[in-house]
Symmetry: C2
Subunit: 196 residues, 2 copies
């Protein structure tokens, strides 16, 4: 499959570069829809793009509720605000789950690579009790150490968001500047300036 960099990639790369002094510039808000048809929204960490694709990588625990949401409705929307440069990206598209069962070699390799890049501390969190459940005696349950951390644990999951629409808003300047990028039927990118 041939790959070409989406036209919004250099714009996003520039924002990441200009905001690099702020660690939270790699945090973004991921909105999903749950089985009741209600939105859920939480902060996640951007883990770079999957090689030779325009897909954003996010890691999560298979026990978190966003997994059920995505299985029910794979279409998601990211809102990413850069406080330094005062610009916002909204990226929407389908999410693919890559877990222990995924047979695609390339995706499974990406999952392993990302696990390898996590800090030991971040890895240990996958050994914590089930997120969102009523808390149990805290001391013991959060201190269990993973004995083997070379390979991803079974509940380590990679999310791949393939954007089909990107809405870029710059609040600096008057009037604000807003550009929309979207797939046409041939999955080619169309760029359109719109009113802010």
């Amino acid at each position: 499959m041939s790959f070409s960099l989406a036209p919004w990639r250099p714009i996003l790369a520039r924002a990441l570069h200009r905001n690099r002094s702020k660690p939270h510039s790699r945090y973004l808000q991921l909105a999903t829809v749950n089985v009741k048809g209600q939105p859920s929204n939480r902060t996640v960490v951007f883990r770079g793009f999957l090689e030779k694709t325009n897909q954003l990588q996010i890691v999560t625990d298979t026990r978190s509720s966003k997994i059920k949401d995505i299985q029910h409705q794979p279409w998601c929307e990211i809102c990413w605000y850069f406080s330094q440069t005062r610009e916002q990206f909204r990226l929407s598209g389908n999410i693919t789950l890559v877990n222990q069962e995924t047979e695609d070699k390339r995706l499974q390799e990406a999952r392993h690579t990302l696990w390898g890049k996590l800090s030991t501390e971040a890895k240990q969190q996958f050994n914590w009790p089930s997120p969102g459940q009523p808390i149990e005696p805290i001391e013991e349950n959060f201190c269990k150490q993973l004995s083997f951390i070379e390979s991803p644990v079974s509940n380590f999951c990679l999310l791949l968001l393939e954007p089909e629409q990107v809405d870029h808003l710059e609040l600096r300047g008057k009037p604000h500047h807003r550009q929309i990028y979207y797939w046409n039927e041939q999955k080619n990118w169309i760029t359109q300036s719109v009113n802010p």
Copy 2:
């Protein structure tokens, strides 16, 4: 109707206070669901609480797409991350729209009050061409001045989010600390510590 401060209010007030040096600490991400059942997510500004309620105030343009989303599905979720203190609030509940047609005097008064608090620059934005539409010759359309700015324009809309569940996560400290507040059937608040 009697009013009592929800148990998460002091916690949120503390976060706002501790992060007050960052103007973006009053920016939050609002997720809605559109008519296709897909999530939408965008940054909005927190405009304080409606007096004697636990309802968050947000202002918007009636021409923005979030209005259609909310008319279709009033249940929304806010994700609010405070970068200074590294804590996240997720607040979910129904949104009430307060527009020019709203007859409730108290709500209409709140709409007028919030309009009065906007900067002249922010007010002028409601005179800009329809948001999200293909851009027209920019110079003329964005320079029209509202001649009368004392009263809210017809497309000025107040959104009131009444949280029924609040999920507070603190990333400082190991393990992270997470508390959930939710309404029971009598609309009394229950507080529950959960696994982060």
